[in-house]
Structure formats: structure tokens, C-alpha cells
Symmetry: C2
Subunit: 585 residues, 2 copies
């Protein structure tokens, strides 16, 4: 038996007991006649004590020479601590060591195993197993495990069945790039790793499985932006014989349940907003509604004056930034430069200081009088002390720019509080999205999403206007889940593939099995998938998913700890009937 | 709202209520003035009724024309059934239909959606979504979901943390073949899909995670034997600061918990047997102990007589088959032929009928008298009415042959009862196994398994004799789990790699990250993994895993439903810097 108790377990009630502990040496303090050792395991830290009066000399010497991160086992008596430490649960006791065994030694770790470490990101990733010993990472992983368990408990109690769908499936040209897996037994052929279990969950609905879920890894071979991973985890759900309302109810309840069980936060019911409203009010289909600063369209009050920039703009739109009228000229110039950065791309910014005395001071005073500016203030809801920021230009681009500014100002003002939770359903998404480069429409959600009833004919005349029963669940400005009511009619699915530019042959080659299935009694169905990595990060009050993943990959898709990917040998390639075809650049 | 109740829900207490149901038309019976429809969903079957007295003519006609597997929604009143059906929970009621909507039509399915279907394996796999509508398959998937949920509940309650390890890892030459995944972003390099999360779970132990589990897909690119799948699911577990006894306790308790929760069976404690004993008594390291027929070595009583076959044999070994003395000459000849089949490979079989009068009749009466045979009966525990079957030859081969015969006889005698559960720990496995072809030793479990304390030096002198703290959990003659205490010392791991034929460079290239990790305070640790597919099948009282997998692959590793794997286009290959290298045979 390696231990009678964990290092987080002993309390005053244990005083007098002889215990055995095992763990890592977090710290030793050598005061000459007395040595203290902080012994750490997953559950906490317990202080060990050895001194000249009570410990034999050899043992004391052994303790003195313990290095950081040595793994040791000790036996000793729980005693009351003279100088108590109220910061840790075991702070009232210490263990007087009578036996000590070194279970394994340790080289000096490349960074400190503390909450605030001196290790940079790269080093932490290379030695991830040491990083995981640190409380912040360890606690994130434990938190993730708790969240997934609660998800499973809730969905099971609602009658959902967890079904494992295959990982070795078929490559489809739709959407992002697939990772492929050459088949040795089927020469020249490849499996693909699933980007999601979409078609399989639909087939389970055709199979009568009714309420399905799965917490499952998905794969996308995309160029990695910051905080994207080539493999990620989805809470994947699908229901049959449901309308959108049924699905929103179930997953609103799931999210409420999680917020309550995991965060102790109770939320009554989630507001809903159409996609069009979200774009108009926040310039964003995943608005953070923990704070206001809603957009006000100013075309009617700002155009038809002498200011040419606004007059020629498709959209003039502003927000009132609370308590920012006090910005200095230098700060305001910096802000204008901020919106003009290439990442944001605005041509400029007009601002209006709403003075405490009710007057206004703007960068366009020569075109607008106080009455004009008062109308801007009324439209944006600006109060004395606020700063009105106005952007103008092409409607879509300007909204995106103002959305970025709104988020930036909220961050500066501390309005994005990690422990405040503001969920929101965004509904009525467009079915199709125009690819500005190619001029083609593609599916905004995916090609299996059903248009709203009665809108099918619009596909021919005004494809961009067709709305879908597609919805996203947004939490604190992040899309944490999304889904739709699916097509369950073979002919409608064929029509949809046609509009997405598939020939009938391509549609059949790629999705023939699904269209076949629709011929054998497919029920109405729909579903939703949560991005688990992000959900967990946000519930954990953080924005970065990487520290909620045990062994993440870097931005080149590499696991720097195990050094993967890596070359494979020629024999292995030959077995797979493959040759490398490398351009030597 | 598509339904107010499920098709398995309505009882006499609902009589008089107006309900809405949705589901599939399982059957229609048209008696002219009355039409009955069996409506099916995941939850059961409800009988619908329409008749000339109470239903309008148009509706009745519509019902008459419903095809099998049409998806319909009905509204109607729950009424008492005149001829009740005690076989189904809804058998006391029926629903008098007042509205009927066809939600989707269906072509005639390629096989009947009944418990006993007329569809062969190939057809069922191609239309798996229809197969899943059948109770036996549907119930297996629901059962699997329940088992995994109970596993998670138990392990969570024991303080285990579920941690997701990566799927895109590094190829290693050890063990079975890896599936590989070409990396586009890292030209000419490959990820591999994990055969198990072995090294990652060990790194989690180094990271202090202490009690880890994961229900996870694993991948092996092996030529598929019957009932093997290229992707399979493992319940993967690891613990730190534990000895073998701690691990056996936890997972014995898990298995007991499952047997109780899932099967309602209570088992006290699991017997244990060493590998050597299992081989000697059952010729098998995963003996089915639901029945006896233990091996009796007969060398001492059968050799040194006139029978040359036995005299020249390394081993003479027999079993007493209960109640088989009544086999006819023809049946016995068939049995002798059975053991001589190439799959079994025995040269012949000697048998002794134990007559009811206490006398014996054997095929070797000319070499052995009644006293001799009485000794055989005593050794094998044969009683009057039993048949003693004796094989001889090379010890290992003969044991394997007799093990096959023992299982065959148990099957014939109905002793392998699916609802009887006989778990068994097999312990003290050899560390290494001799590959007869190459003459090299390889790791019996895997190269991370620790030899038993004090046996390290035997590695040089008698490698086959080294025993490991490695154990299998056997249930009804199937290995459902296996594990070991791992090496946690860098030098011992290096020694092990050396004995397994790795050069230091190879060991470093493949497992350098693990040996590095062992330098930074690796705790003693060990673990176990269950094969979920088999575990679920056995708990479900079946031997075939395929019907417990939603979308299994066939023996060529193909998914015949989606037709994968499949060729990919040249552009995709080019992006991956690959060319096909196909031999045109």
C-alpha cells in the first residue's frame, strides 16, 4: 500500500494517527535543526516535518537532500502545526516523518511547478506531463471531466442514447479538408476521419434511434488559426419527430443544468434573436450580450448634410461607449488608429464626446451642430460622459468593424466578466452564404439543413434571402453550439445538392447512401452540436481552449511533446501502395 | 408538436384521452370494414384502429393504402381493446384514429423489420439504418449506452478523471500495424491513429493525474479475423501509487457493479489463477470456468505401457466429458475427426467410455486394463456415464487442442450458458513470449510492463521464465480486460527495450518522450483496459461483437453502407505530397 491518505486529506481530526503518504516534493525548507517538506499530489499539499529532536540524523539528512519533484513515500504521525496556514485545507496539521522512501528521483524540472510558472508556452507543451502537475492545468482537466459527466447525466436522464459512430469513414469534398487514412487492405483507397458524425447521426434517426448523443472527436485539416485544433471534441446530438422549438428547449435545459451544476449560476430562460437582428444590433452572429453598446444606424440623422464621407456611405452606424468621454486626445487618436489597423480595416472613425454639461464635442463639428449630435446621442442611447463612435462605409464591412471596436471597448472597460454568463439563441440563419470570390452560394450550416417551410421556391429567385431553421447557441460572445432542422425528403435533398453545385452523379457518389436512406421512411429530425473544448473553456471562465486539452497541438498541427507527425519508413509506405511526391523547393 | 406520447407509453389509464403519435407503419391488417395499423417507434408498438362505423371513408382508404415503414403522424382517442394482447405493454388499448398525416413514404424495405428478419448479413449491413430499427439491434445499442454510462458513473464515484488523449499521434513499429494519416502541413510526415492511449495514460500518471480513465476508440490495421474490427473501443484506465492488488480490487468492483446494475447478478469475489495454472488446467489463458472438465495430466498413469503413441509424447492429457458415454460409434468417429481437422490439428484421440456399471471401454483396451483406466477416471474425475477424451503430443500444442475440444463439448452440452457469468483473474503472465518463427522474444503484454520484483536478472539467463505483474480479466472464456504494473524507471525501461531488440537510437526515436518523462519524477503506476465491444456483447449474453456496434465494418475493413474506403482525387493526393504506387498484378 503506497498511501493511507491523499496529500489533501488530513485535518485536525487526524492528529495522533500514523499515516502513509506518497507524492512529489514541491518544496523543502531547511532551517538547520528542522526541515519542512511540502508533499504534493493531485489532491493537495501536506507539510512534512523532520527535526533534530524527533528525527534520527540519517533521515534528516535524507530529507535535506530531496530534490524538487522527487517522488517519495513517507510514514509519520499527524501532529498539530504550530504556525497554521489558513490558505490550504491541510494547513492546521503537519506530519512528523518517521520513515522515508524515495520512489523515484527527478532532474530539476525545466520550469517551476507552481500556479504561476516561469515556463513559456513552448516549454510547457514539450513537457506537458509536468505542466499537468500545475494546479491551473490539472484543475482545467478535472473540470472538463466533470462537465462531460454532467452532460452525459443530463442527456441520459432525458432518454438520449450515446451511440458511437465510426472514425474511419469516407472523404467528401464538402466543407473543410478531410484528414485521410490510406487503406492497406483496399489498395489505392482511403478512409477519411470525420469532420463530424453528421450523416451517421441522421442515419440513426432514419434507424429510429430517436434521441442520440455522442461526445466525440472530430477532425479538420485546415490551416490553423490561433486557438484552433486539428482534432477537437463535439457534443453531438440529434432528435427525431421534433420541431426547432423542441430542440431549443432540450439544449437550453442542458445548458441551464450545466451552468447550475458546474458554475452555481441559475438563468431563467435564454433570450432569442434572429440572425438579421444580431447583425444589425451587434454586427456579429455571436454577440456578447453581457454588456450593451448596441448599434444605432445613423443614416437618417447623419446623411444629407455636408459631410461627404457619410453621404456616400451605404451605412453610418455608431455605438455609445460608456464613460469614455474622458479619453484624452492622445487616447482618442490611438483609438482611431486602432480601427484603421489592417486587421480591422476601417478608413477612419468619427467620435462625439458627450460632455457632462449636456453639450457635445465631435470630430465633425463643422458639419453637424449640437442638435444634430443630440439626435446621434438619442439614437445610440449615449449619456453624458459617454463617447459615441461612428463608422461608415459598405454595410457588411462596417458592421464587422464596429463589432470589433465594441468588443475592444468592452474588454478595456472590464465588461467581459468571465464569471458572468449571458447565453443567447441566434435563430433564422440564412440557408446559403455567398462566396464573394467565386460568386457561388454555399451552405451556411451544411447541405443537410432544411429551408424554412414555404421558402424553397425562393432558392431560384433570391437564394440569399432563404432562411433556415438553423440556430446557434451563443455564450458570452462565443458560438458554443449550432444546429438545424434537417432535410428528410429525398427530392428536397437532391434540389439542395443541385443548388450547391453538385451534379446528380457527384451527389450520388458522395451522399448516395443518405439519399437512399431517405427513401425508406426517414422521420423529420434535427439536432445540434456543441464545441466541447470552447464550452468547457467558457464555463471555466477562460477564453483559451488549449489549457482545457490534455495534449494539444501547436499552430503547425504538431505535438511537440511526442514529436508528431513524423516520417514513416519506406516499407510502411510500400504496404500502403504510396510514394512520397515531395517538391524540393 | 409531433407526438404527445411515444408508441410504448399508452396504458388503460389513458383511455378516453386524445393523443398524437408518430412512428413507422410496422404492419396493416385490412379486414374490409376495419383496418388495424401497428405503429412502431423506439419505445414500442401501439395498435391503431379505423373502421367504417367510426372513421370517415377517406381516412379509412388512406389507412388502407399505407405501406410498410411509412412514417405517419396520427391523432386519435385511446380506447379499450376488445381482444387484448398480453405480449406487449400497450396491449390493452388501441387508438381510434381521427387524423392521419403521412410524414414520409417508404419503398418496400429490402428485408423485414422484425426480430427474426429474412435479411442476410450483407443486406443488413448495407441497409444498417433499417437493421437498427429491428429490436435486437436497437436494444443492443441501447444496452451498450447503458453499460458505458454505468462504467462512467462507477469510475467517477471512485475519483477517476476522464481525460481525452489525442487521436493524431506518432507511428511506432511495435506491435500491430498502425493506420497512418498523412500531414498536409508537415510535408512527407504522418500521424498515426492510436492502437491504445498507452503512453499518454502513463504520461498522465507522470503528470500526477493519479486515477485516469477514458472510453476511447483505438485502431489496428491488421488482417481481420472473424469478429475483429479495425476500429474498436476500449475502457482505458490507469492509476498511480498502486500495487497490482489495488488495481484488481478497483476493477473487480467495477465488474461486479456492472453485473449487478446491468444483469442483476451478484458475484462475491472473483477467483484468481496463475497463467501457468490456467494453461495446465484448461490449456488456455482465458479459460471458461462456467463448467468443469479440467485437464488431468495422465503421463504417470498412461506412459510406460505398450502404447507407443503415449510413450513418445511429451504430454498425455485428458478430460472427462459429462454424460457423453452414450455417444454412438458414429458420433465418436465424428468427434475423432473433429479434433483431426486442420483448425484443431490433433493426430488422433483416445477415448474411454465410463459405463454405468463402473466398467470402462476404450479405444486402447489392448494396451490398458480396467485398473489402468480406473486411474485415468480418477485423475480426470470421470463418473459413470462420462466420456474420457485423451490427447497426446507436444505439450503446448496438445493443450491448445484439448482446450478447443473442451469448449466444443461444453457448447454441445449446453454448458456455456449466456446468462451465467463466471469471471476470473488470470495473473502472473510471462513478461516475454518467444516468437517461434524468428526465435526472438517479444513483449507478451507490451514493452512498458514491469517484470516482477527481483526477476530482472533472469532476463539474461532465462527470458521465458520471467513473470510480470500482468493480469487479464476473463469472463466466460473471453479476455475482457488486461493490464499490468508498468515500468516507471528510465533505466529499467531502457533495459527492456534492449531485450526487445531495440537499439538505443530506435528506443529514443520512438519512445524518447516517455523515457524523458521518467527522468522527472515518475510515480509507480499501473492500469488496465477493457475491450468494450466484447464486454458489452458478453454482458448482453452474446458472443458476436458486430451487433453491438452501430456501424461495423466487414472482414475486408469496408463499410458497405457508405462504401468506404474509396479513392480520393489527385488534387487531394497532391496536397498531401503523395502518389499512388499500385502494382498492377
Amino acid at each position: 500500500m503506497y498511501r493511507s491518505h491523499s496529500c489533501g486529506e488530513l485535518r485536525e481530526s487526524h492528529i495522533g494517527q500514523t499515516v502513509t503518504l506518497s507524492g512529489w516534493v514541491a518544496k523543502t525548507r531547511d532551517k538547520g535543526f528542522v526541515v519542512w517538506v511540502d508533499l504534493r499530489d493531485r489532491y493537495g499539499i501536506t507539510q512534512l516535518v523532520l527535526d533534530e529532536d524527533r528525527t534520527n540524523a540519517e533521515l534528516l539528512e535524507q530529507a535535506r537532500n530531496l530534490g524538487r519533484e522527487f517522488v517519495i513515500q513517507i510514514k509519520g504521525e499527524v501532529i498539530e502545526r504550530t504556525s497554521k496556514n489558513a490558505n490550504i485545507p491541510t494547513g492546521n496539521i503537519e506530519v512528523l516523518v518517521s520513515e522515508l522512501t524515495i520512489l523515484n528521483e527527478s532532474k530539476t524540472p525545466p520550469f517551476t511547478i507552481e500556479n504561476e510558472t516561469d515556463g513559456g508556452e513552448d516549454l510547457r507543451m514539450k513537457y506537458r506531463y509536468l505542466d499537468i502537475r500545475r494546479n491551473p492545468v490539472k484543475n482545467n482537466l478535472i473540470f472538463r471531466s466533470k462537465v462531460t459527466m454532467e452532460v452525459r447525466k443530463f442527456l441520459s436522464s432525458e432518454g438520449f442514447i450515446e451511440v458511437e459512430t465510426p472514425y474511419l469513414i469516407k472523404s467528401t469534398p464538402e466543407g473543410a479538408r478531410d484528414f485521410v487514412v490510406p487503406s492497406r487492405m483496399n489498395e489505392g483507397q482511403f478512409y477519411a476521419l470525420p469532420q463530424s458524425p453528421q450523416t451517421f447521426k441522421q442515419l440513426l434517426m432514419v434507424g429510429g434511434m430517436d434521441k442520440y448523443f455522442q461526445i466525440v472527436k472530430c477532425f479538420r485539416d485546415e490551416d490553423l488559426r490561433a486557438d484552433r485544433q486539428p482534432e477537437f471534441t463535439q457534443i453531438d446530438c440529434e432528435m427525431a419527430f421534433v420541431e426547432q422549438e423542441d430542440i431549443l428547449n432540450v439544449f437550453e435545459n442542458l445548458t441551464k443544468y450545466l451552468l447550475k451544476e458546474v458554475n452555481g449560476v441559475e438563468i431563467d430562460s435564454f433570450p432569442r434573436m434572429t440572425y438579421d437582428d444580431a447583425m444589425a444590433k451587434y454586427g456579429n452572429d455571436k454577440p456578447d450580450i453581457r454588456f450593451g453598446m448596441e448599434f444605432a444606424e445613423l443614416n437618417s440623422v447623419a446623411q444629407h448634410k455636408e459631410f461627404g464621407v457619410f453621404n456616400s456611405a451605404e451605412l453610418v452606424v455608431g455605438i455609445a461607449v460608456p464613460d469614455a468621454a474622458s479619453y484624452t486626445r492622445k487616447e482618442l487618436d490611438a483609438l482611431v488608429n486602432w480601427v484603421k489597423r489592417p486587421q480591422i480595416g476601417a478608413n477612419g472613425m468619427v467620435y462625439v464626446k458627450c460632455n457632462e454639461d449636456g453639450s457635445f464635442k465631435s470630430t465633425v463639428d463643422k458639419f453637424y451642430d449640437q442638435d444634430d449630435l443630440a439626435k446621434w446621442a438619442a439614437a445610440t442611447g449615449a449619456k453624458p460622459g459617454d463617447l459615441i463612435c461612428v463608422l461608415s462605409g459598405d454595410a457588411n464591412k462596417t458592421r464587422t468593424q464596429l463589432s470589433a471596436l465594441r468588443m475592444e471597448m468592452a474588454t478595456r472597460l472590464g465588461l467581459r466578466k468571465p464569471n458572468e454568463f449571458a447565453p443567447l439563441w441566434v435563430v433564422d440563419f440564412p440557408l446559403l452564404e455567398l462566396d464573394e470570390e467565386t460568386g457561388h452560394y454555399h451552405a451556411m450550416h451544411h447541405p443537410f439543413t432544411s429551408p424554412k417551410p414555404g421558402q424553397l421556391e425562393l432558392l431560384d429567385t433570391d437564394p440569399g434571402a432563404v432562411r433556415a431553421n438553423a440556430y446557434d447557441l451563443v455564450l458570452n460572445g462565443n458560438e458554443i453550439g449550432g444546429g438545424s432542422i434537417r432535410i428528410h425528403d429525398k427530392d428536397m435533398q437532391a434540389t439542395m445538392f443541385k443548388h450547391l453545385g453538385f451534379t446528380p452523379e457527384e451527389a450520388k457518389a458522395q451522399f448516395g447512401f443518405l439519399m437512399d436512406a431517405f427513401q425508406y421512411g426517414a422521420p423529420p429530425h434535427g439536432g445540434l452540436a456543441f464545441g466541447l473544448d470552447r464550452l468547457v473553456a467558457i464555463l471555466g471562465g477562460q477564453e483559451t481552449i488549449r489549457d482545457f486539452i490534455a495534449f494539444p497541438k501547436n499552430n503547425s498541427g504538431r505535438d511537440v511533446m511526442i514529436d508528431a507527425p513524423a516520417p514513416i519508413d519506406n516499407a510502411q509506405l510500400k504496404e500502403l501502395s504510396l510514394k512520397l511526391d515531395i517538391d524540393l523547393k
